[in-house]
């Protein structure tokens, strides 16, 4: 299955990319995708996740065609 992965703000700097399309054989959740794509880069505390522009839990499974986004702690307002 193909997944679009996006990184925002400081995570872009941390993992060295803003967006990547990846192919997976097996079913993966949000955390598994990070581990597979980001290698040794540790996810900072307090990150949030969204699948297809809706917030989700870290153990949510991805489907073919999904877009998953990783957010560092929010600092708006």
């Amino acid at each position: 299955m193909s997944i679009k992965v996006k990184f925002f703000a400081s995570l872009t700097d941390l993992v060295g990319m803003k967006e990547i399309d990846v192919e997976f054989e097996s079913e993966l959740n949000v955390i598994n995708v990070w581990q597979s794509v980001c290698g040794t880069a540790q996810m900072p505390a307090g990150c949030l996740y969204a699948i297809n522009h809706d917030y989700c839990e870290p153990d949510q499974l991805l489907k073919d065609g999904d877009e998953v986004a990783y957010f560092p702690p929010l600092t708006g307002g």
């Binding site: 400081s10 522009h53 702690p73 929010l74 600092t75």
Partner: protein
Amino acid sequence: MTVRLSKEPFSPYDLLLQTEKELDGRRRKIGASSIFIGSMRDFNDGVSVESMYLEHHPEMTVKELEKIADRAEKRWSLDHVLVIHRIGEVYPSDPIVLVAVWSAHRAHSFDACRDIMESLKSNVPFWKREKREDGERWVTKNTSGSSADF
């Protein structure tokens, strides 16, 4: 309810005046307006900040702001809600966010205005990157010790 992002600097008081003109006949039912304006400070941890870049998630920001305003309208009895948030490059004393709530009674407008502001801080995907005299850095959290927190 009006929720929008602004790439350009905005003038909160002009927008509030214009919004009240548009409320027209409904204004006579309004007894309370609570307004919050967040703006950029030029200092953080004793370090001068020259400017700030506001990144956001284009497909989610307005949607999440609308959810927050919508929830407030269901929870309290409100006549109108206005939320404006800057994106892009901002400079000291520039307004970053405007939250305004019009209601018949003050308790509703006070509660809703603060709830919208706190929810925005914790739920809407915005991030600040400071350009400081000692270099650039992402603001890591919204705390009272940070120029990003007001």
